[in-house]
């Protein structure tokens, strides 16, 4: 820690606009990483003051007190108290408060003061407070608290100028930290501090005669027992539409772009370099491309999540869903992550960070891959269109659509069941986490802040695609390409590779569930991304051609497989654990391989048992 720049730390209760202040101070100069050994996000950034001093800022996890009752809050406490290994004590703490809502933050300020380190109170959202007619006697407040106070409007250009100026002033003087008097507060301490905070508020804050009723008016509809759920359903519908339809053109563009790039490289290299050609085109470009194709969906999902979060709706969605999800042992906050998993489990698992209880979060991560992600759709459509007749039932229901719906429903049902079982067996001795959260006033989303948030997530996703996922892809390409087919060999080259050997070796294991060795071979490149299995089946059955070949594959499959095998493969894909990127994300988000292995094994077991039952039942019913 030999950096010469000043270290600032932002501390504050949740919903005080701490993150938008952080965004506005640092812009896109941010680094998001994890604190060592835990899954807590470490957000840092930097800026230069008007007088040219360089400052690093750390955005500490939001907390109501320094008691440290969750891993996030422990990080905040330990850094503030200067006992976090590998993290220097901040030179200056900026305690961020929502000027419209001082009660809880002022108690935190009083607690932080006992730590004795240089501190400044930032009254954020001062513009909203003024507009609502809240007046604050800043001089008197500063006197009462014994702290310098600055006001800020994190969302407006120039809204942090005063803060920057005061930071320079602070730096011009030398500061010494007093000895810490902080001890874990007892209930009596908390109450005394709250009374003191209330006394100061009464002395310095004049509330408007007419309180803000807009939030209340919106809530009377949005939190209505019936209309609230209807509105939630509509929001979700729009979100789904956006993820599946708006992202489509961009995804096709990306996928075509990668295909063209692969072809270009193929054409540029001389044919005698076949191996390098194949590596670049099939291993590197198509492998990484098959993951990057999901970038538009990830951007749209996070755009929605961040917009709703910023607006203040997320806490309401958790409120509406808490009891409904609670039946399956899930926390209300698990709702949005699970929903995102319908697009792709990766952003879903990344979004579980909003769940502060570790057990609730792990359960959510565990079941997120069971939600039918969009990568399964190509596999589902292929098999359904090849084996399920497009007949109409009861005059309006398309049988193919019904099967598709059934597959989604099976995914959801199994997710809820797994959660209930996990709750019963894994966490039986642990009490469920309480649901207690602040419903912040509604605010207009801040576009710049949201843009920075989406950008940061996209960067994280791409970074991962470039590292972990890339190495997986190379391995899978290797398995599918070596050893090479002997000269003059018949049939596709993959039939001579390690993948085929593994496929043949696995065949006895997979025969009870109706899979032949060709399916086993296709499942291996399917590890890269589930939909790759479709192309792999095409390769194994020697079908040439790109996307147009999908129909041809279907025709071939319809001749070569029994209906029982097809149904078994469909059921396999409900649970199918083979998605290398999801497993890599689970490993990263849970801070170790343990939960990755657990997820892989339990999904594998579920897939095998379910396929076994399906195959044998179908055969018993004579579905050949």
């Amino acid at each position: 820690m030999t950096t010469a720049s000043l270290r600032l730390a932002l501390v504050g209760a949740p919903n005080t606009g701490k993150t938008s202040l952080f965004n506005s101070l640092t812009g896109s100069r941010q680094k998001v990483a994890n604190y060592p050994g835990v899954t807590v996000e470490r957000k840092s950034g930097g800026f230069v003051t008007p007088e040219g001093r360089s400052v690093t800022v750390l955005d500490l996890p939001g907390t109501y007190s320094l008691r440290g009752r969750s891993p996030d809050e422990e990080i905040t406490r330990d850094i503030v108290l200067g006992r976090f290994d590998g993290e220097a004590v901040p030179d200056l703490m900026l305690c961020v408060a929502d000027a419209t809502n001082l009660r809880l933050t002022l108690r935190l300020v009083l607690e932080l003061k006992r730590v004795g380190r240089p501190m400044m109170l930032v009254l954020n959202m001062i513009d909203i407070a003024k507009r609502r007619g809240v007046t604050i006697d800043l001089d008197r407040m500063s006197q009462e608290l014994g702290l310098p106070i600055v006001t800020s409007v994190a969302v407006r250009k120039g809204g942090v100028d005063e803060l920057l100026k005061r930071t320079d002033e602070f730096l011009a003087k030398s500061h010494e930290a007093a000895a810490s008097e902080w001890t874990t507060p007892t209930i009596a301490d908390l109450k005394a501090a709250q009374r003191e905070a209330d006394r100061i508020i009464a002395a310095v804050v004049t509330l408007p005669t007419k309180p803000d009723t807009l939030t209340n008016r919106i809530d009377s509809v949005v939190l209505h027992p019936v209309w609230g759920l209807v509105i939630l359903a509509v929001i979700l519908f729009v979100m789904f539409q956006a993820v599946f339809t708006w992202a489509q053109p961009a995804m096709e563009l990306l996928s075509d772009g990668f295909a063209a790039l692969g072809q270009l490289i193929h054409d540029l290299l001389p044919a005698s370099w076949g191996l390098l050609q194949s590596f670049l085109q099939n291993g590197l470009i198509s492998g990484v491309g098959s993951v990057i194709v999901f970038l538009p969906q990830i951007i749209i999902i996070f755009l929605f999540i961040l917009l709703l979060e910023d607006f203040g709706y997320m806490a309401r969605a958790a409120f509406l869903m808490d009891r409904i999800m609670g039946g399956a042992g899930l926390h209300g906050r698990a709702f949005i992550p699970l929903l995102s998993s319908f697009a792709c489990a990766i952003p879903g698992i990344m979004a579980t960070r909003v769940i502060d209880n570790r057990r609730d979060r792990l359960t959510t991560i565990l079941i997120a891959p069971l939600m039918t992600c969009s990568a399964r759709i190509p596999v589902y459509t292929l098999i359904i269109s090849a084996f399920v007749p497009a007949t109409t039932l009861w005059g309006f229901v398309n049988l193919q659509g019904l099967v598709m719906f059934g597959l989604y429903a099976a995914g959801i049902t199994s997710a809820l069941t797994v959660s209930a079982i996990a709750k019963f067996f894994l966490w039986r001795d642990h009490a469920p986490a309480p649901f207690m959260l602040e419903l912040p006033d509604y605010k207009m989303p801040r576009l710049k802040s949201i843009a920075i948030g989406v950008f940061t997530r996209a960067k994280m996703f791409l970074y991962r695609a470039g590292t972990t996922i890339l190495s997986m892809m190379v391995l899978i390409w290797f398995l599918a390409s070596f050893p090479q087919a002997p000269a003059g060999a018949e049939g596709p080259a993959i039939n001579y590779s390690f993948a085929a050997m593994i496929g043949h070796a696995l065949e006895p294991l997979l025969r009870p569930i109706g899979f032949n060795w060709q399916i086993a071979v296709a499942l291996i490149p399917g590890m890269a991304a589930r939909e790759v299995a479709v192309a792999a089946l095409g390769t194994v059955y020697s079908i040439e051609g790109g996307k147009e070949a999908a129909d041809a594959i279907g025709q071939v499959l319809a001749q070569k497989w029994t209906l029982a095998t097809a149904l078994s493969l469909l059921v396999w894909y409900i649970f199918a654990p083979q998605c290398a990127s999801t497993l890599a994300v689970i490993r990263r988000e849970t801070g170790g391989a343990k939960w990755m292995v657990v997820t892989f094994l339990y999904m594998l077991a579920l897939a095998y048992v379910a396929s076994f039952l399906t195959f044998n039942l179908a055969q018993a019913l004579g579905l050949h």
Partner: protein, 95 residues
């Protein structure tokens, strides 16, 4: 019949917030986390409630209720709104 304020028995006018209906307006008299349906220890529950602003004398109003069994509830505590389950709200004694 009004009870002696020093006894731990509930006063007749005292209600547990977890039992109150939507639209209820009252004042917090004290916290009593000993008998609730919450999974938290009484001390932990009381501490969390205090951290969320549930302190003696605060004005409370139940603004909204959830769909299933009217749970959870959204409570206005002075000038902030807190969502919590009825089982945890049982610890808040109001009048």
């Amino acid at each position: 019949m009004t009870g002696d304020p020093d006894t731990s028995q509930d006063n007749l006018q005292d209600i547990r917030l977890g039992h109150a209906d939507r639209g209820f307006v009252g004042k917090i008299i004290r916290l009593d986390a000993l008998v609730t349906g919450s999974s938290l220890s009484p001390q932990e529950l009381e501490q969390r409630l205090v951290e969320m602003g549930f302190v003696e004398g605060a004005r409370v109003e139940i603004l909204h209720e959830g769909t299933i069994r009217r749970d959870p509830i959204a409570v206005r505590v002075d000038n902030i709104t807190i969502a919590l389950r009825r089982s945890e709200a049982m610890a808040v004694i109001v009048e």
